[in-house]
C-alpha cells in the first residue's frame, strides 16, 4: 500500500509548498491535513477542513474530475490525483486537487462553437438548395400570373406566390444564421444607428418599459451591413421586451473597447484589437445556464403559442460573426440579461470624432451633349439642371416635333433621353425610332413609370434602346448615361447571346425562359468545363455571361477569372445563394460585373443585364 519513496518529513515540506490544494486523508476519508493552497480551492481555512469527512477518493486511472463546493454555493471544477502514503505512521491517502475550471470552460466553448458550426453548415446547405428551388417556383408563378386572364386562377397564383415569398424570407434568415447572407458592409456610426432607431425601439417596447441610451462620445465607426445591424438591435430589444412582461427598463449602451490578448485567449475565435461594443441590458426574467447554452441555435425558443420563432438571436449571432465580431450574453435568472455585441473598429477610421459623413459614391460625370424630352416641366428642369451640374451640355424639348428639330440642327447630340409618354401623337418610342433613322448611332434612353410593356416589341426590346424606370435619382441617371455612352457602339443587330453556367437544370431553364422573353439567346452550361468550351467556341459573339458561384467541377469564381483574363469587358453576372460577405466586395472593382443573390426574379436578372448594357 505504501509508496515510501519520501520520508514523512519530506512529504510535509513538499505538501506545504505545493501550488495545488493538497489534503491528507485517513482510511475513512477524514481530513488529517490541508495545505495552505487548498484554501483557494475550497474557500475555507485549512484548519477548518481538518476533521471533515470528505470521503475516500477512489480514483481509477491517473486522475478524476470532481466538483468542489465552496461555501455560498460556488462550484469549482477540479481534477483529483491520489497517492497512498503514511501519515503519523498510519496508512493514508494524499489527494492533490487542481482547479481546472478555466480549462473546462474553454473546452466547453470549443465544443459549443463546433456544434454551432455544424448546425450552420447543415442550415446553409438546406437554405442554399431551397433558394434555388424557390427561384424556380417564384419565377414560374410570375410567368403564370402574367399569362392568365382567369380571375380565380389569378387569386390562387397570388396566394402561392405569397407563400413562396414567405419561404424566401425564412431561407434568408437561415442564411443569416449560417453567416452566408450576402452583406453590404458600409462605414457606419453605431451611435447614429441607435439614435435613428430610438422611436422604433420605444414603440416596440411599449409604455411600460423605459429605454435609456448611453452613447459614448468619439465612438469608432464600424464597417457592417446597416440593415442587419438594425435587425440585430431590434431583435435584442424584442427579447428584452418579452423578458419584462410587467415592465422595466432597457439600457442601450455603446462604448469603445480594446479587447486585449488575455481576453482573446479566453474566448475562442476572437482577435485582440479595438472594438465597438453595443449592449442591451434588461431587468427581465433572465435565463438559466441550460437555456443560455442553446439560445443561438436556430428555432430554439422558450416562447409558447407561436410567439417565438427562435430566429432572433441566431440572426444576431450569424451577423456578428460574419462581420468579424463577437457576441456575449450574461444572464441572471430573476434579475435580467445583458447582451454585448462587439464589432471590430473599421480599418482606416482613425478620426473617430469626425462627423459621420454619408459615404456615397461620387456622381458619374460627363461632357457629352444630351437632348432631354419631357412634357412635365418640373421633371425636365430637375433632370436638365442636374445633368448640367454633372458637366453635360443639355438641350430640352417638351414634345417630339420640337425634339426632332433640335436633333436636325445640333449634330453634337449623342444621346436622346426621353419620356415614354409624350403629347402630340408621337410617343418616346416612336421618337427614338425616328431620331435614330435620322442619325445613325444615336443612343437612346427611355424613361417611364410603367416599365416594360410598351417598349417590348413582339417580346423583344428594340435594339439600341435603354430603359430607366421612374422615379430615378440623379445618381442613377448619371450612372446609366455613363454606361450607355461608354458602350462600344459596334454591336450586331439581332438577339444577344448570353452564356449561362448553372448546374441546377431547373434554374437554368428558368433563366432561359426569363431571358427569351427579352430577346436574349441562351447558351447553357452545367459546369465550368462546359462553360469554358462554349466560351471558346463563341468568344467574340458573346454579349454576357451569367455564372453561378457553386458549380460542380470548380468554383465559379475561377471561371469568372478565366473569362476576365480573355475578355476584360464582357458583362458578367454572378449569381449566388451562399454569398459570402465579400462576394460583392470581392468584385467591387469590376465595373462590368454584377452580383445577384438567389432567389432572384426574372425582372431582377433582366435589370442586371441591362445595367451592364447588354
Amino acid at each position: 500500500m505504501a509508496s515510501a519513496a519520501f520520508t514523512e518529513k519530506e512529504i510535509r515540506f513538499l505538501v506545504e509548498k505545493n501550488a495545488d490544494g493538497i489534503l491528507v486523508l485517513d482510511a475513512e476519508g477524514i481530513v488529517l491535513f490541508a495545505n495552505p493552497a487548498s484554501e483557494q480551492i475550497f474557500g475555507r481555512a485549512p484548519e477548518s477542513l481538518i476533521g471533515s469527512p470528505i470521503g475516500v477518493p477512489l480514483v481509477s486511472g491517473d486522475t478524476s474530475e470532481i466538483v468542489i463546493h465552496k461555501p455560498g454555493g460556488k462550484h469549482v471544477d477540479a481534477e483529483i490525483r491520489v497517492v497512498d502514503t503514511y501519515w503519523d505512521n498510519r496508512p493514508a491517502r494524499l489527494a492533490s486537487i487542481r482547479d481546472i475550471s478555466r480549462r473546462k470552460a474553454q473546452e466547453e466553448q470549443l465544443r459549443h462553437s463546433s456544434k454551432m458550426e455544424a448546425i450552420g453548415r447543415l442550415t446553409a446547405g438546406i437554405a442554399h438548395d431551397f433558394n434555388n428551388l424557390l427561384t424556380v417556383v417564384l419565377g414560374n408563378l410570375e410567368h403564370a400570373q402574367r399569362q392568365t386572364d382567369d380571375e380565380r386562377l389569378a387569386v390562387a397564383l397570388d396566394n402561392a406566390a405569397h407563400g413562396a415569398r414567405l419561404a424566401a424570407v425564412l431561407t434568408e434568415r437561415l442564411l443569416a444564421f449560417a453567416r452566408k447572407k450576402p452583406l453590404e458592409p458600409k462605414l457606419v456610426s453605431p451611435n447614429s444607428i441607435v439614435a435613428g432607431m430610438s422611436e422604433l425601439l420605444q414603440r416596440t417596447l411599449g409604455d411600460t418599459i423605459n429605454i435609456r441610451t448611453v452613447l459614448a462620445e468619439d465612438l469608432h465607426r464600424v464597417e457592417v451591413d446597416q440593415t442587419e445591424l438594425e435587425a440585430a438591435i431590434l431583435n435584442l430589444i424584442v427579447n428584452a421586451r418579452d423578458a419584462m412582461p410587467s415592465g422595466g427598463e432597457v439600457i442601450v449602451e455603446t462604448a469603445n473597447i480594446e479587447l486585449d490578448h488575455a481576453y482573446a485567449a479566453r474566448e475562442t475565435e476572437i482577435a485582440p484589437g479595438p472594438y465597438v461594443m453595443i449592449s442591451v441590458t434588461d431587468s427581465g426574467v433572465g435565463m438559466s445556464p441550460e437555456i443560455l447554452r442553446q439560445v443561438f441555435e436556430p428555432f430554439f425558443t422558450t416562447k409558447e403559442g407561436g410567439r417565438g420563432t427562435g430566429l432572433g438571436l441566431s440572426q444576431v449571432y450569424g451577423f456578428v460573426k460574419q462581420s468579424g465580431g463577437h457576441v456575449k450574453l450574461y444572464s441572471e435568472p430573476g434579475h435580467g440579461t445583458i447582451v454585448k455585441i462587439y464589432l471590430p473598429k473599421a480599418m482606416g477610421d482613425p478620426f473617430s470624432q469626425e462627423p459621420s459623413i454619408e459615404q456615397t459614391e461620387p456622381l458619374s460625370t460627363g461632357h457629352e451633349t444630351i437632348l432631354i424630352v419631357e412634357d412635365d416641366p418640373d421633371v425636365r428642369a430637375y433632370a436638365a439642371s442636374g445633368l448640367r451640374g454633372l458637366g453635360y451640355k443639355v438641350f430640352e424639348a417638351g414634345e417630339a416635333s420640337s425634339a426632332l428639330e433640335i436633333i436636325e440642327n445640333e449634330p453634337t447630340i449623342q444621346l436622346l433621353f426621353t419620356d415614354l409618354g409624350l403629347p402630340g401623337g408621337m410617343d418616346g418610342k416612336a421618337l427614338a425610332a425616328c431620331a435614330q433613322s435620322m442619325r445613325e448611332g444615336l443612343k437612346v434612353l427611355i424613361t417611364t413609370a410603367y416599365a416594360g410593356s410598351a417598349l417590348v416589341h413582339e417580346g423583344r426590346l428594340d435594339p439600341g434602346v435603354d430603359l430607366l424606370s421612374k422615379p430615378f435619382t440623379l445618381g442613377s441617371l448619371g450612372r446609366r448615361l455613363r454606361e450607355i455612352l461608354d458602350r462600344r457602339s459596334s454591336r450586331k443587330a439581332g438577339s444577344a447571346r448570353v452564356l449561362v453556367a448553372e448546374d441546377e437544370v431547373l434554374l437554368r431553364m428558368f433563366i432561359a425562359d426569363s431571358l427569351a422573353d427579352h430577346g436574349y439567346e441562351l447558351e447553357q452550361a452545367g459546369s465550368c468545363a462546359e462553360a469554358m468550351a462554349k466560351f471558346r467556341a463563341l468568344s467574340g459573339d458573346l454579349a454576357a455571361a451569367i455564372i453561378d458561384l457553386g458549380l460542380p467541377d470548380r468554383p465559379g469564381d475561377e471561371l469568372v477569372a478565366e473569362l476576365r483574363a480573355v475578355s476584360p469587358d464582357l458583362p458578367i453576372i454572378v449569381t449566388t445563394g451562399l454569398s459570402q460577405a465579400d462576394v460583392a466586395a470581392r468584385y467591387v472593382r469590376d465595373r462590368r460585373l454584377r452580383v445577384l443573390g438567389k432567389p432572384f426574379s426574372p425582372q431582377a436578372l433582366v435589370d442586371a443585364l441591362r445595367g451592364l448594357v447588354v
Partner: protein, 104 residues
C-alpha cells in the same frame, strides 16, 4: 439487517454526474436486491448538501448508523468501492451473497 441506503450527491446534469449515476446503478445491481439508492442534486437541493457537509461531488454516502462511509469520485472502480463500503460483489452465477460487514 436490510434496507441499506446509498446516497449519491451530484452537481447538475454534467457528464461526470451521469457517469456516477450509471456506476451507482451498477453497484446497486451488484449488491443484494433490496439496496436502496437516492440521488441528490446539490444544485437544486443545496440545503441537503450543506447539512451533510458535502465538500465535493460526486460523493457516495453509505448511511450506516454506526459507521457511515463516504467515497468521492465517479465510482468507476466498482470493485474497490464495494470493498471499501464493506460489500462483496455477487458471484458470477447470480446468487446473492449475504452482505458482510468489513471489520473496522
Amino acid at each position: 439487517m436490510s434496507g441499506f441506503l446509498l446516497r449519491l450527491y451530484i452537481a447538475g446534469r454534467s457528464a461526470i454526474s451521469q457517469r456516477a449515476e450509471q456506476n451507482l446503478f451498477q453497484l446497486q445491481r451488484l449488491i443484494e436486491p433490496d439496496c436502496k439508492v437516492e440521488i441528490i442534486d446539490v444544485v437544486t437541493r443545496p440545503e441537503l448538501a450543506e447539512q451533510a457537509g458535502i465538500l465535493a461531488t460526486p460523493t457516495l454516502s453509505y448511511e450506516h448508523p454506526e459507521r457511515p462511509r463516504r467515497v468521492i469520485g465517479d465510482l468507476s472502480d466498482t470493485k474497490r468501492v464495494l470493498e471499501f463500503l464493506g460489500f462483496r460483489a455477487q458471484e458470477k452465477d447470480g446468487r446473492a451473497i449475504e452482505p458482510k460487514e468489513k471489520n473496522a
